[in-house]
């Protein structure tokens, strides 16, 4: 074995020892990153729980692998918290003078169609015809939209300044 090989083996050994010494810090960093992705009310609890659990995982490399799994765990736990918490519905009235169909987008459905003039008759007509009560072809179309609301734990604001005015 030559001098170069001895030096290389020594350097490789030192490098491996260095990497292994950094692994506990990496584990802690990964655990804290995973905990940060959770809602604020459970964050500190999970961080402490997982840091305690990490001490019971044998092997430094296994511990890092286990901690990396927590990133997936926190993503799954956060996803569950992002399920819609409330359903909102909005009702709007579209007023139109258009004769015939086509006043609404194809994916919107009118819940009720009334004559737009003062008679206010509720009409059930497949195609626009003069109102049987007053003869008007103007209509008020009542449209209802319903959607789930998702509440997130954090909000961010981006601002820009104009330097050269």
């Amino acid at each position: 074995m030559g001098l170069e090989e001895i030096v290389l083996a020594l350097l490789a050994g030192l490098l491996i020892a260095e990497v292994l010494d950094w692994l506990p810090l990496l584990t802690t960093f990964v655990i804290q990153t995973a905990a940060r992705r959770l809602p604020e009310d459970v964050r500190s609890r999970r961080r402490e729980e997982w840091l305690a659990e990490a001490e019971h995982i044998p092997g430094k490399v296994s511990r890092v692998c286990w901690a990396l799994g927590l990133i997936l765990a926190s993503a799954r736990m956060s996803a569950r918290d992002r399920e819609p918490i409330k359903r909102l519905s909005v009702t709007s009235v579209v007023e139109t003078d258009t004769i015939g169909s086509g006043a609404l987008a194809p994916d919107l459905h009118a819940s009720e169609v009334t004559c737009r003039c003062s008679c206010g008759a509720v009409l059930d007509e497949p195609e626009r015809l003069p109102c049987p009560r007053c003869g008007s072809t103007s209509r008020s179309i009542h449209v209802s939209i319903s959607e789930g609301v998702v509440a997130l734990a954090g909000a961010s604001i981006e601002a820009r300044t104009t330097r050269y005015q």
Binding site: E48, E49, W50, A52, W66, G69, L70, A73, M77, R80
Partner: protein, 104 residues
């Protein structure tokens, strides 16, 4: 805190529940459950969180003061009466289905 949402009873969830049903008086930490079930951390902790939210599991910190022990506190889980009943019913239903399949 309990949640009205019923936990989804996947194979892995049933594995976790079985661990608790076999040791109803024991308090188990996540690491203990991981050793028995061999579930990955990415699977185990979401299951524990779901079962706890549903009120099937209860958890508490270990008694040791973290500052005195010089380490973070462990969190111990235990099955609740509701969890034991629901899990028992789920296993019974599975048993009936399995027997039904065997006779078919």
């Amino acid at each position: 805190m309990t949640d009205e949402r019923e936990p989804r009873l996947s194979f892995q969830t049933l594995q976790v529940l079985q661990v608790f049903l076999e040791r109803p008086e024991h308090k188990l930490a996540g690491a203990d459950i991981r050793v028995i079930t061999r579930l990955a951390s990415g699977t185990l902790y979401p299951i524990l969180a779901r079962l706890e939210e549903a009120g099937w599991l209860d958890s508490e910190w270990e008694n040791a003061d973290a500052s005195n022990a010089g380490r973070p506190r462990r969190r111990y889980y235990r099955i609740t009466a509701l969890g034991a009943r629901r899990a028992g019913e789920a296993f019974e239903r599975m048993q009936v289905r399995r027997q039904g399949l065997a006779w078919a």
